[in-house]
């Protein structure tokens, strides 16, 4: 029986608790009375994954079975979520491989010749051949990649885009031409957290800057409470408007999958356990990991962490009409991640881990660390933010990983030039976004190298806009002081110092909540 998530109250019996901080973790003694939110334990994975996939394709929701929608002579396009999902990457075989193989088997039986497989990476970096192969598997890769039929989506290839019109609010809809002109678009998703999937898949994954700028901006992000709750997220509402227009023109067959919370493989399983339940072996693993990481140079630590492949189990799969499928998907995500929390607190503590969606095999630069802490983790709520308005956020990350020149060239300029000028998301967007988005060099790197699009660091900053608007103080424990100052925040060496610094905002005896993730959790805050 899987135990649900719960809220611990730190007392004199509580051992030190794990806090992730970049390429490592620390043990922290939290003040007595601190609330610690633990995610539910990992749900059991489906044993017969192949059977579950087949069942979903043959008995879709609000749609004819997939084989009935396939016919000889048709144009079939399969799109799939890129390397930003899941986190960490999944052990082989990836769930997307298993689904795509079955879709292709059915397509082959129906005599479909014209098939293209597109990674829906929007403005993310192009994946390497090895990364593509990891996701779709060797058979699919060998059959399609050499012929150029398995490729990354290019949002700057004007010839490969098509404008489908605008929504009733004037939002442009510009997506992949191949996808838009297909007789059937099968989208294979991995719904790791509640913000993924639904109309966000096609409407964002296969869209260009022209379309994305309508919802990826500071205004919508401040009005997304949170972006993990699509009904209360201005970004999702825009994506839903766009998706409904797409649905009228493009026949979409959505396949959504949900994973359990098995994030850390052996010997790091102790990171998923509740600390007071650690066995002697877990304690020994923790001590060994701590010493090993302390001894290892940065490069080795980076390799140790980024080589981890999660032993995720599949908790469910649904296929068919986008919105009906997504409803089922969200229910499963909530079952795995939702934790009921009573009331808000003055201080929210979060440990930013080594990995976010945009630094797979790359470095967690200060902008991405901010996006991870104040974006993804801060927004991991439903109802109300875990911290009260005007409260303080304490984040753990050394902010010392620097920038990956291959993946994040525009981030360097964003950090050095834009953030030096201002850290206000609205001002930044107004003043600099278009310049970065249309910069020919960034476009070139995005299209031919493995660089994130020039505008991407802006999106990362917008992701944190709601948190910056909501809280009064942000302090990085163990963070590089200069980097924190550039981001517009402050750094402290210990939690006690951070609380001391925050006392001007929240007083000397604030209520504290620590979000104990990863694994992923979603705080259902009742006020």
């Amino acid at each position: 029986m899987t135990r649900p998530g719960f809220v611990l109250e730190v007392d004199d019996r509580t051992p030190p608790l794990v806090v992730h901080e970049g390429l490592g973790f620390r043990l922290e003694d939290f003040p007595l009375g601190t609330r610690v939110i633990y995610p539910p334990e990992s749900l059991p994975g489906i044993a017969d994954v192949e059977g579950a996939v087949r069942e979903a394709l043959l008995h879709p929701v609000d749609s004819d079975p997939l084989p009935e929608r396939l016919f000889a002579g048709m144009r079939l396009t399969i799109a799939f979520d890129d390397v930003s999902l899941p986190l960490p990457s999944m052990r082989r075989p990836d769930i997307r491989q298993r689904i795509i193989e079955q879709v292709l088997t059915m397509a082959a039986e129906a005599g479909v010749d014209d098939v293209e497989i597109i990674a829906a990476n929007a403005l993310h970096r192009r994946m390497t051949a090895a990364e593509l192969e990891h996701i779709v598997g060797e058979r699919v890769f060998r059959s399609f990649h050499p012929q150029g039929k398995l490729y990354n989506f290019d949002a700057e290839d004007r010839d490969a885009l098509t404008h489908l019109g605008t929504t009733d609010r004037g939002e442009d809809i510009e997506i992949s031409k191949r996808a838009a002109e297909s007789d059937l678009l099968v989208y294979v998703n991995v719904n790791l957290v509640a913000m993924d999937g639904g109309h966000k898949s096609v409407g964002i994954g296969l869209a260009s800057y022209k379309s994305l700028r309508h919802h990826h901006n500071a205004h919508t992000m401040v009005h997304s409470r949170s972006f993990m709750d699509h009904q209360k997220s201005a970004m999702h509402q825009s994506a839903w408007r766009i998706g409904r227009v797409i649905k009228d023109t493009v026949p979409v067959f959505q396949v959504e999958t949900t994973l359990n919370n098995d994030v850390f493989p052996r010997p790091y399983e102790f990171l998923m356990k509740r600390e007071w339940e650690w066995s002697v072996r877990d304690q020994a693993s923790m001590l060994a990991a701590r010493r090993g990481l302390a001894l290892a140079p940065q490069k080795l630590r980076h390799k140790l962490f980024h080589d981890l492949r999660a032993p995720y189990g599949l908790t469910g799969i649904a296929a068919g009409e986008v919105e009906a499928v997504h409803e089922q998907t969200l229910a499963r995500v909530h079952r795995q991640q939702l934790v009921e929390v009573q009331g808000t607190s003055d201080v929210l503590v979060m440990g930013v881990p080594y990995l976010g969606p945009y630094n797979v095999d790359s470095s967690m630069n200060p902008v991405l660390a901010t996006c991870m802490g104040l974006g993804y983790y801060f927004n991991s709520y439903r109802g109300h933010p875990v911290v009260r308005r005007g409260g303080a956020v304490i984040l753990y990350h050394p902010l010392d990983e620097g920038f990956n020149q291959l993946h994040h060239p525009s981030y360097v300029d964003f950090y050095e030039e834009v953030l030096a000028e201002t850290t206000d998301p609205a001002v930044i967007g107004e003043k600099y976004e278009r310049q970065f988005a249309e910069d020919p060099w960034y476009r070139h790197l995005y299209r031919t190298s493995h660089a994130y699009h020039g505008v991407h660091p802006f999106y990362m900053w917008y992701w944190a806009a709601h948190a910056m608007d909501h809280v009064g103080d942000v302090i990085w424990v163990g963070g590089d002081r200069r980097a924190a100052a550039r981001l517009g925040f402050r750094a402290a060496s210990t939690l006690a110092d951070a609380l001391e610094m925050a006392s001007g905002t929240v007083g000397t005896s604030p209520s504290i909540t620590y979000l104990h993730n990863p694994p992923h959790l979603l705080a259902d805050v009742r006020v």
Partner: protein, 312 residues
């Protein structure tokens, strides 16, 4: 050096946090909810069968009574009420000591004593087999649940079998010797089974053997005086509810206590005017309440010089 020192710090912190060498602990807020364990209750039906009756007769007459009388002096009043009533009845008494049960049982005429069972707390007297066997054999106890719940033998069944019951409606021994609130179980049984309640008041057991004492104490070297007084049987009036009946039972016991410490006539007059002293005692400091109860009731005046075998 930094590496080593940090390593030692980590080990120390782990040893402290996970209590190496000691029993590990779970934070209070993380302790799993455990359903309260229903204590095992040992049955007592056997204690009301013939062999047990015979064994009890021997145990009480040969063992209990001589020991009891050697330790305390007793004065019993009002037994004549039992001539005017047909069994079974429910004896309802105040409760201040473990002496109450032997005092009450040994005060009864033999034919009543042999047919009387005592309601005893299931969680106290019936949690282990040896306590259950011991108390059932000696005092003919049967378990009742003080917290509500089903029992192996309900008091109703025991009554229906023709046994009189002894019930202490306070539910537990008084901590200060004064009478506390009565629960409604006895009144309910009397009401539903149409059995009379015989109120019983006793004094001196708290002074002789209060809570925590294992053996009756002595008063200046002599045996402590206990008094017990049986009152007129009560029945629920026509149309009277249990809620109205139960306070009457407590008043009857209170009046008997008053009578025992003063006279029948004075107690009757006070009862008529509703000025019977509150058996719950005065609202004063706890020590004063206990102090007042540590005095044994006055015994019969000694008749002539005490005779001793060995003259000093």
């Amino acid at each position: 050096m930094g590496f080593l020192r940090e390593g030692v710090d980590d080990v120390r912190r782990t040893a402290r946090g996970w209590r190496w060498g000691r029993r590990s602990q779970v934070p209070r807020s993380a302790e799993p909810y455990v359903e309260p364990v229903r204590a095992q209750v040992f049955g007592s039906d056997w204690a009301r069968r013939r062999p047990a009756l015979a064994a009890r007769e021997v145990a009480q007459k040969v063992g209990l009574e001589p020991v009891f009388r050697s330790q305390v002096r007793t004065r019993v009043e009002g037994l004549d009420v039992l001539d005017r009533v047909e069994g079974p009845v429910i004896f309802v008494a105040n409760h201040a000591s473990h002496l109450d049960t032997p005092l009450l049982l040994l005060s009864l005429p033999d034919e009543w004593r042999r047919r009387t069972a005592v309601a005893a707390a299931a969680d106290y007297f019936f949690d282990t087999w040896w306590r259950a066997v011991g108390s059932s054999l000696l005092f003919n106890t049967f378990p009742i649940d003080r917290r509500g719940g089903s029992m192996s033998a309900t008091p109703g069944e025991v009554l229906a079998d023709g046994w009189s019951l002894v019930i202490f409606p306070e539910g537990t021994r008084s901590g200060d010797g004064w009478m506390h609130t009565f629960r409604m179980g006895a009144a309910y049984l009397s009401h539903t089974h149409d059995v009379p309640i015989v109120p019983v008041a006793h004094r001196g057991t708290f002074a002789a053997m209060p809570r925590g004492a294992g053996w009756p104490g002595r008063d200046e070297g002599g045996r402590r005086q206990l008094t017990v007084r049986f009152g007129e049987p009560l029945r629920a009036r026509e149309g009277e509810t249990v809620r109205d009946y139960a306070p009457r039972v407590r008043e009857a016991v209170a009046a008997l206590l008053d009578e025992d410490s003063t006279t029948w006539w004075e107690a009757q007059r006070r009862r008529a005017t509703g000025s019977t002293p509150d058996p719950g005692g005065p609202d004063v400091a706890t020590w004063r309440r206990v102090w007042a109860q540590t005095e044994s009731p006055a015994g019969d005046p000694p008749s002539g010089p005490r005779r001793r075998v060995w003259q000093r």
